[in-house]
Subunit: 215 residues, 2 copies
Amino acid sequence: MPDEGVRAATSEATTHRLSLLLRALRVLEAEGVGTVSSHDLAARFGLHSAQIRKDLALFGEFGVRGVGYRVAELKDRLRNLMGLDRSRTVVIAGAGNLGQALADSRNFNSDGFHVAALFDLDGRKVGSKSRSGVSIHHASEIPQAARELKAEIGVLAVPAEAVPDVARALVDGGVVAILNFAPVTLPAIENVVVKNVDLTLFLENLSFQLKERGR
Amino acid sequence: MPDEGVRAATSEATTHRLSLLLRALRVLEAEGVGTVSSHDLAARFGLHSAQIRKDLALFGEFGVRGVGYRVAELKDRLRNLMGLDRSRTVVIAGAGNLGQALADSRNFNSDGFHVAALFDLDGRKVGSKSRSGVSIHHASEIPQAARELKAEIGVLAVPAEAVPDVARALVDGGVVAILNFAPVTLPAIENVVVKNVDLTLFLENLSFQLKERGR
């Protein structure tokens, strides 16, 4: 097994494929499937069998020769590997349409994650709750509330101009990862994992595929 | 130059990298930069110079030896290649928080795209407009309105159980690409480009990076 202490950070492409593999394993487990080969995984879920084996090989020995992968076991090992075997607390800055949509989304309250608070500057929103019951606090409370809630992940769903201040407040509150949905790139912050999400990429991907089909 | 008629569909990874390259070129053009080398692109925007050359080589001859890439020219060729040199009309099914956030988002009303309508079942929303002025129509009008608006891209921001019917209505309305934000996978549809977006992937990516840092 590779020494995790010296292994370079796993690439985003590999991480993405491991997420898709984990999703496939969850489906199979729900169906009561006990073991699966990389070929079956590939055929059914549109994954690439050699790539699955290559990605997993980065992390150790998986699978049993002649049997394939034990679904429940591989799922648990992946969840552990990806840090999803415990619930990470998420707080969301910005209680506009996007912030509230994320707070109430099944995606953001799934295996491994829990949205604990929303923050906004708008006094009419502060003190109320999102549809699913996430409390909206004043933005000035971010550092203290994030610390009390032991928030690890902060989500930015604020206007572009608010990004620097809000990011700083989240980091002051002990947040160690930031997912930025604002339409501006948040630069790297020391000791914080920063991910900028740009939803335009999805539309551009569709446009490109349409163009390739002559449309 | 490769024959576009026989070339296999470009991989999602390549598409994604071309989008990031296009973004970098837009920034450089706005700064008045005339030419740029693949090494400078790599250094400044975190791209990979050999990969840039490899991706672009799929589509023909780009760049001038000893000069690098002409920023404006490469940007225009990429926009053409990705079908972004004309405005594609987008309609959004579901005028809840997510649908309205997308309708009002700068990302969805940027180079190449224009949100023309929202659809919802809720009579209290029908007839009103989103904050940025996108009209909300009744969901029963999807096929006719999509056709009249010449919508090419339909976005699903509806509950999971509504996905099959709404996807069918969009396709009946002539939509040729669907971006699905609902928490359920939309299966392939003949002659339609389908992209399922799962926002959990972003959180899982952060979690994995935190885990790799020992958190």
